[in-house]
Amino acid sequence: MAALYGKNESTCPMSIESGATPWRQLLAKEGGRLLLFARQQTRSEADAQDVLQEAFLRIWKSKPDSAAVHPGEVYTAIRRTAVDLGRQIDRRGLREAKTVAMDQAEGVHLSWFDRKTEQDERRAALESAIRKLPGDQQEVLILKIWGNLTFDDIGKALGLSANTAASRYRYSLTTLRRILNPKQIQT
């Protein structure tokens, strides 16, 4: 199982220099991964985008010029912002419903992953399976695979121990395999 957990175990801070341009470069480079996590944490595309924006601005605003921002901090900010937003959802339930209705009516592109022509069917199956995972497994999987975080960092971002994060990751893969190959697992 070492191979399973051996990837990207070292910390890899997002190198962010001072000034707006490096931040914009970072946004362009890492934005897709951050948005993926924001989508997982929220109920609608509009909320995901709002949460990403607010979280990104919080980090940008709070960091001194020469600091290197650890990716875990950005993901933590996204999660906290999403939690805060979740608390408000009841208060603006109607608006939320309208947003979802608009998304559906306008056929907003809500795919989590890039559509690559030759493997589109498989991508769709994987994405569908990921969406069926329980939320706690989903977030660990996303942070590990696409966030490139260590279990220690995932634990810090989600308020868990590293062991629990690793355990959830393994569960998520097992559950995914079961969803994707139900017959194979039964035999």
Partner: protein, 199 residues
């Protein structure tokens, strides 16, 4: 093969397959929106971090919580910059519309000053054919930038109302056949007032 190893290999393969999936890239409009929000703030510092959970789409919540005079001046400063740019673009477009439709670039004046020749030139000195280089409307997007609840305010008619302001940025993109594009961002503020009962 040992079933345990087989299962482990299976998971490793699945993991590799997942890794090969690339998250969808950030929508261009969202990136623009965040950049716009960054432009509207002072920049990285240790000061006022946004209040949790505020449905702020780009503006600094602390900025709206500060004293009214400061708040207004910041708002005006923020709104004036794009307004000036938009005005410049509108002026340019107006000059283009004043041209003779025949395309010879002349404008008749009432003062009898004769014909004013307006010509565009390429960097290499050659003339641009006005019939070719024309901007055509492309994408129009209205972005909700922020919602500000001013609470209960009194109108000039001494009526108590609840006031909510919606800040938008209307973005219009124009495109030239040669591939060049022009974007005009116009800040818009819509104010809604709902009368409230007073006792």
């Amino acid at each position: 093969m040992n079933p345990q190893h087989e299962a482990s290999d299976d998971l490793s393969r699945l993991e590799a397959e997942l890794t090969s999936l690339e998250p969808e890239s950030l929508p261009e409009l969202l990136q623009e929106r965040i950049e716009l929000a960054m432009a509207g703030r002072d920049g990285p510092d240790q000061a006022d971090v946004a209040s949790p959970g505020l449905k702020s789409i780009g503006a600094d919540p602390a900025f709206y919580k500060s004293e009214p005079g400061f708040r207004r001046s910041r708002l005006v400063r923020f709104l004036l910059a794009p307004s000036a740019a938009a005005a410049l673009v509108v002026l340019t477009l107006a000059v283009l519309f004043l041209r003779d439709p025949s395309g010879n670039g002349s404008v008749d004046t009432e003062e009898g000053l004769g014909e004013l020749q307006i010509v565009d030139m390429e960097p290499d000195g050659s003339f641009i054919d006005p019939n070719v280089a024309t901007f055509s409307p492309g994408r129009t997007q209205t972005i909700l930038f922020d919602i500000i609840d001013d609470g209960i305010v009194w109108t000039s008619e001494n009526e108590a109302v609840r006031q909510i302001r919606y800040l938008f940025v209307e973005s219009v993109s124009l495109q030239n056949p040669d591939g060049s594009t022009l974007r005009i961002d116009t800040p818009i503020e819509e104010v809604f007032q709902e009368p409230v009962e007073t006792f």
